[in-house]
Amino acid sequence: MSTTLASPKRLTIASVPVVGMIITPFLPFVSTPTLWLGLPSAVVWMALMIVATVAALQIIERTYLREGGAELDRLEAEQSAAAAAAGTVTEAH
């Protein structure tokens, strides 16, 4: 359980699609001309990586909210509401 957003577990999950994208040129189906479903395999691979990225971030968000992040978000919202009610538009001087 960790309320640290960038916990090792969450960073590991996030790194899966990142590594998948970086190594793209070295994948055997990309380094040789290949078509999948009429499309270049590299295009299909990148589309899959986009989907994987969305999925990874959804998983990370759920674990974060479940492990205390939801409470932190609630506190932040309360702080923002209090600041807005007080009419404190920050200006730096």
């Binding site: 994208m21 040129p25 990309v30 290949t34 078509l35 270049p40 295009v43 971030l57 968000e61 923002s80």
Partner: protein
Amino acid sequence: MLTVAIIIGILGIGALGVAGRRRQTELSSWTVGKRDLPRWTSWFLQAGESLTTFSFLGLAGIAFGGGVAALFAVAYLTINCVIQYFVIPRQRELGANRGYLTMADFFKDRFKSKALGKTVALVGAVFLIPYLQLQITGLGMIVQLATGSESARGYSMAVASVLVVVFVIWAGIRGLAKVAVFKDFAMLAALVIVLAGVIAGIGGIPDIFAKIMDTAPSYLTISRPGFDATFWVTSVIVTSIGAGLNTFPHLWPPVLAAKSGAVLRDNVKWLSVYQFLLLIPITAGIAGTLVLDPKTKGNFVLLGVAQHTLPEPLIAVIAIGGAAAAMVPAGAIAMGISSLVSNNLLSVKNPKLRFRINHVVVAVAVGLALAFGLAKSDIGALLLLTYGGLTQMAPAVAIAIGRKVRIGAVPVNLGIVVGTLCVAVITFGNIPTGGVDSGLISLAPNLAVLAIAELVRRRRHPAGAGTQADDVDAPLAGQAAVGAGA
């Protein structure tokens, strides 16, 4: 007729920026509103960097020359979302607690150094000018290619520049947000039209790639000259680091203006779906190899394919979408430059005077970029510095978002200066790098100088070598004001 339609479209975009907005009267509300932008407003502002003139002109051109290697843009923009998910909520939290208006405020506060704040402001403002010119020149190029008229290019650049100045000065970030909504829908329409044109005029997508497989299979691998695996890996890594850690000053206002960190997280966890749209110009660029002269310049490819396949009214829609894709980033960049200069570079205490100077800087920055664009001045080399140079601030950002900042301002400042000089020497000295991105290479001396200078600092001042800035949980927005004027 086409020219008139496009100019009317550009005027409409400008009108949208000022319509229904009261004139902003102070720098903070102009830059970050009331720090309460809701999800969808933040969404369209954050999406700004995904769809720009580069999507229209550059990407199809890279695909025309490098084939599927153009997917590197899809890769770094997607990785950018992953890194930003962890980084920008923290930047927003610090900004709300400490009253930042700019990226330079963040550096100045976290490292307790006015000099570092000024360095970051100077580097940011200078490097953003070529990026601003790129948008305005790109807009002119889109109009010229669509209409075939050289004079239409100049008129459209001038009209769009004036409108950007007006709506940015008048409405600030909220005006920008309104135009950003239009821009995303206009670009979606334009790209779908391009795709329809490719299918109708050249052939079905599977047929196109089957022909490419027969005639030039290297377009289907990441191996064409200049677009090999080294290019891919180094470009993706360095751009992901720079963009992910938010080292572009003009991208800070949307982050600082967001209602909460949760809003930013919610957005970036979905924003990568935008990259599906980039597959369209890449497909059009590769398809262009079947119908265009091989000597066609990269920037001409997308509109060349469109002209080859589409009727005139649809070309106008594409051109207006392209114009919007230029005007929104141009507005954001002008805001970024002006706030850095008026808030961080100049020491103006009087808020009203500071805000007036800010307006002048918006006009001067856009005017300069327009003048460079109209004169066709080649400041493109400076643009090469923009990406690599701004990425040199990435180590400092990574250090500063920690709970405690234990590295000194001088080492960080030296690292940024050395890294940036290194990028400049490699770029202007035409030093061969074997395809490795100069920004990535320059991060090595940047980090080395930072580490050595920090060791020296700790030896000289062992007692003062500890924390530069603690976490700042306590002060609420409005109670602490560090952002500037000095």
